[in-house]
């Protein structure tokens, strides 16, 4: 008459355990799902009925009530189909109740009785990892990432019923533990010349400083950004696990192998705010900023993005998490990414500044599209130029990614042991302890502050970048003027308005 089956639903990037209660009793034949199911879940009534009939199972012509226990929060997803079907079969006595003890079911049903995978298998399985988990055969690899106590893979409802009734053995599962793979990232040695760009990339990777590249078309902005993941340290096991969970939650394919190269996301500029930070009406799904966690988020042609989309990035970048609040739920998702953006210096995008045709006002207006607070998030603002013909055609290859990555990893280690975080995350009150300046450097920054070429906010950012530069060059102690000077150089002044003093 009654059965309680374990399953899981997805919110944001994490799964939550849910108990599907089934009751089959006397009364006018009916089939209702209660407990605030969403649209996909209410439709499962029809899928479950059709699947059971086409699997040759008897449909109980009685009053059926399904309750998603823990009412009060809207949830659902087609992943509850099998749990509902098994619940009915237990309640009608087809499957013995002991057989489903400590077993969770996560799969969608097809009308022909086959089991299908649903988005977010990895985090869903992780939330019921102490159970035996039944998933569709296609979802085995993804389920194994979450390392449940046991994974059962079946391809149809018939197969599942006979296995639960102990009439047939469970189908074999290739229970391979997650392997680590290193996939190909383009190498920095392809970049010819452009020493400034190389330096900026290295600093960005070493201190995880957000970077804005300003340069004409053909300066290699996207080429450089694509090589950044190869400079970052390989993901640790936990990071790789988290990345796989996020990818799974977003409905992307995930292999058994955990990729250790940092993710690289380059959304097109037509992206909506929900696409960028995450959200959605029925299901809250991760946005690009979450998908880029532990990796690089590259915004090409930043001026073409909707201003609201760009400004929505500000809070997640600062707090390193995204909070999404909707009427029915609140979700927190990780957003620990390195932001790299690229823009043309002006509408005409000519290679040599002196030959630019744009009116001064047009140039200012072009850069004024970015709000001050957003521009301020970029520790590095670098002007790039097209590489010279000699560099492009020359034989000499640049330094390779591996050599740079080694230095970068060194700085990450120094920073973690010194202050417990990367250099870009040094807080204002820690700066004097962690990044002290010598007198000459202090005078130099004073000069620029008095001059108006450096703002108060910029002052702290320059000091963080100088810390990274000094670390990269083995100067662990007091920061000398040299590094402050270079850091200032990597923080280009943007001509958003010219004021003359006489």
């Amino acid at each position: 008459m009654f059965a309680a089956i374990t399953s899981a639903t997805l919110t944001g990037t994490s799964g939550s355990r849910i108990v599907v209660e089934s009751h089959v009793g006397p009364g006018i034949p009916a089939f209702t799902v209660v407990g605030l199911p969403d649209e996909g879940c209410r439709e499962s009534r029809d899928r479950v009925r059709a699947a059971m009939l086409s699997s040759g199972l008897e449909w109980p012509n009685r009053r059926i009530t399904i309750n998603l226990a823990g009412a009060g929060e809207r949830r659902g997803g087609a992943g509850l189909d099998v749990a509902i079907a098994v619940g009915l079969l237990v309640a009608t006595g087809v499957i013995p109740a002991e057989a489903v003890h400590n077993v969770a079911f996560i799969a969608e049903l097809g009308l022909d009785g086959s089991l299908r995978t649903t988005p977010g298998i990895a985090p869903l399985v992780a939330s019921v990892a102490d159970h035996d988990v039944v998933v569709s055969a296609a979802a085995v690899n993804e389920a194994l990432i979450a390392r449940p106590s046991r994974v059962r893979a079946v391809s149809s409802l018939c197969e599942l019923v006979s296995a639960l009734c102990a009439e047939a053995p469970w189908p074999d599962v290739d229970a391979e533990s997650p392997r680590v793979v290193i996939d190909d990232v383009p190498n920095l040695s392809d970049v010819r010349g452009q020493p400034v760009a190389r330096l900026a990339l290295e600093v960005a990777a070493a201190g995880l400083h957000h970077m804005l590249m300003i340069g004409p078309p053909g300066a290699g902005k996207s080429m450089l950004a694509k090589r950044l993941p190869g400079l970052l340290p390989r993901l640790t096991h936990e990071e790789a696990f988290q990345v796989a969970m996020i990818r799974s939650a977003a409905g992307m394919t995930v292999q058994t192998e955990l990729a250790t190269s940092p993710p690289y996301r380059a959304p097109h500029h037509s992206i909506s705010m929900v696409g960028m930070v995450g959200g959605g009406t029925a299901h809250i799904r991760p946005g690009e900023i979450t998908l880029a966690s532990h990796g690089v988020l590259f915004l090409d042609e930043m001026g073409e993005f909707a201003p609201s989309v760009l400004d929505a990035l500000r809070q997640p970048l600062e707090e390193r998490t995204v909070h999404i609040s909707r009427a029915h739920s609140r979700v927190e998702m990780p957003a620990e990414c390195l932001l790299v953006a690229a823009t043309n210096p002006c509408p005409c995008g000519v290679a040599i500044r002196a030959n630019c045709e744009c009116a001064p006002v047009a140039r200012q207006r072009y850069l004024r599209r970015f709000s001050g607070p957003l521009l301020d998030r970029f520790d590095l603002r670098v002007h790039l130029s097209r590489p010279s013909t000699n560099d492009l055609t020359g034989e000499t290859k640049g330094e390779c990614s591996e050599a740079v990555a080694e230095r970068v990893a060194g700085v990450h280690n120094i920073a973690r042991t010194r202050q417990g975080c990367v250099n870009s995350a040094i807080t204002g009150d820690m700066l004097d302890d962690v990044a002290p300046l010598d007198d000459e450097a202090l005078m130099f920054l004073r000069h620029h502050l008095d001059n108006g070429t450096l703002t108060g906010r910029g002052y702290h950012r320059v000091r963080r970048v100088a810390r990274t530069l000094a670390d990269l060059n083995g100067d662990a102690g007091v920061i000398s003027q040299q590094w402050v000077s270079v850091a200032l150089h990597l923080r280009a002044r943007l001509e958003t308005g010219v004021v003359h003093h006489s």
Binding site: V196, L199, R353, P387, F444, Q482, S485, H500
Partner: protein
């Protein structure tokens, strides 16, 4: 209507809608400003030479506009000079296209000094700006007035240089809006200082906005007021070229500053040089053209700290062209870090300037 001075009627006539300098000159040649004003506003008599549709617009003007113009000019301290007044600038009296009425903000005596026009593009390079500033400063120190248009780029730099001197000839600015209309906004402080030391002239009444068609008209006055006109940087299609043409019509010497053939801001000036204009490479060239004695010229003391040996090497490889740090590093054979450090101190000393990542040596 009593007590309204003649100049106020003239100013009100200049402020009529659809007014042009040709119409205004004709109106004022027909009678006194007051008579013409009354003829228009009281519909007493037809005004010869003015078409009926212009007249119908003019006739809707209120008669006390002259009094309001008087109050406006007095409150803004704007002097109105009509052609024929004692205060009207001498160089314009014989000019066939001179404005019949001039609005002046500041003091109106600078026309006793020698005058040199310094003009150029708004999209100037840093070294062009530097050259204009130094030239403006040295000419002013030699008691030569700098005439310019207070536009962005070369124009404003010439006056900024002029204002850097402690004493010297007063600056003269000719603008395309009313003399009280600061355009562009960021030139507010320069505007104020020019008024304090010299004069801002315009043929448009106070409050008139600077409109595109007014700039070429402004350029003709600028050219007519100069004895020598110097183009520092200009594209071949630039607005400075209209000033050059106006100057050539008036047989005024035009000189040009030579520049690199690789960049557009030197196109126009190099064209002028090819067409036979004399080049300007230092203040002496200008003084010679004015027929002034250059022997007593005390070369302005360069207040900048001399660059270090590395700094000199970098200035040397930059060759007065806009360069990126990548290029400088390649040319000087130094690391980016060393170049960045040196450029930083050269910039602090005033030897280089950058815009949008392009660095230029300021050595000329």
């Amino acid at each position: 209507m009593t007590g309204v001075p003649q100049w106020a009627y003239a100013a009100a006539l200049a402020g009529l809608p659809l007014q042009t300098h040709t119409r205004l000159r004709r109106l004022l040649s027909l009678g006194s400003p007051e008579e013409m004003w009354n003829a228009i506003t009281e519909r007493s008599a037809p005004v010869p030479g003015v078409s009926a549709d212009v007249m119908s617009v003019w006739r809707s003007t209120e008669q006390d506009a002259a009094r309001r113009m008087e109050d406006l000019c007095r409150s803004k301290n704007i002097h109105v000079c009509v052609r024929g007044d004692a205060m009207y600038p001498d160089p314009l009296i014989s000019d066939p296209r001179a404005p019949a009425v001039l609005f002046a903000l500041g003091t109106l005596h600078p026309f006793t000094h020698r005058r040199v026009g310094i003009i150029g593009t708004r999209l100037a390079t840093q070294s062009g700006r530097h050259f204009a500033r130094v030239l403006g400063e040295q000419l002013t120190a030699e008691n030569v007035s700098v005439v310019s248009g207070l536009a962005r780029g070369i124009d404003v730099e010439a006056h900024l240089g002029s204002l850097r001197t402690e004493r010297g000839a007063p600056p003269i600015a000719v603008v395309a809006g009313g003399p009280d209309v600061v355009y562009p906004r960021e030139h507010e402080s320069v505007w104020r200082n020019v008024v304090e030391r010299g004069v801002i002239l315009s043929e448009f009444p106070p409050g008139a906005p600077p409109e595109p068609y007014k700039f070429p008209l402004r350029n003709r006055i600028l050219a007519a007021l100069s004895e020598v006109l110097i183009v520092v940087e200009s594209r071949s299609t630039g607005g400075s070229m209209t000033t050059v043409r106006e100057a050539m019509k008036r047989d005024i010497t035009v000189m040009a500053v030579p520049g690199s053939p690789h960049i557009k801001p030197s196109e126009g000036t190099n064209d002028l040089l090819r067409d036979g204009c004399a080049p300007v490479t230092c203040v002496d060239d200008v003084l010679v053209a004015l027929g002034l004695d250059t022997r007593r010229v005390v070369k302005g003391h360069d207040g900048r700290t001399p660059p270090s040996a590395v700094g000199l090497r970098i200035l040397d490889v930059m060759e007065n062209l806009p360069r990126t740090v990548d290029e400088v590093a390649l040319l000087a054979g130094m690391s980016v870090v060393d170049v960045a450090v040196s450029l930083g101190s050269l910039e602090a000393q005033g030897w280089v300037a950058q815009s949008d990542g392009w660095w230029e040596a300021l050595t000329r």
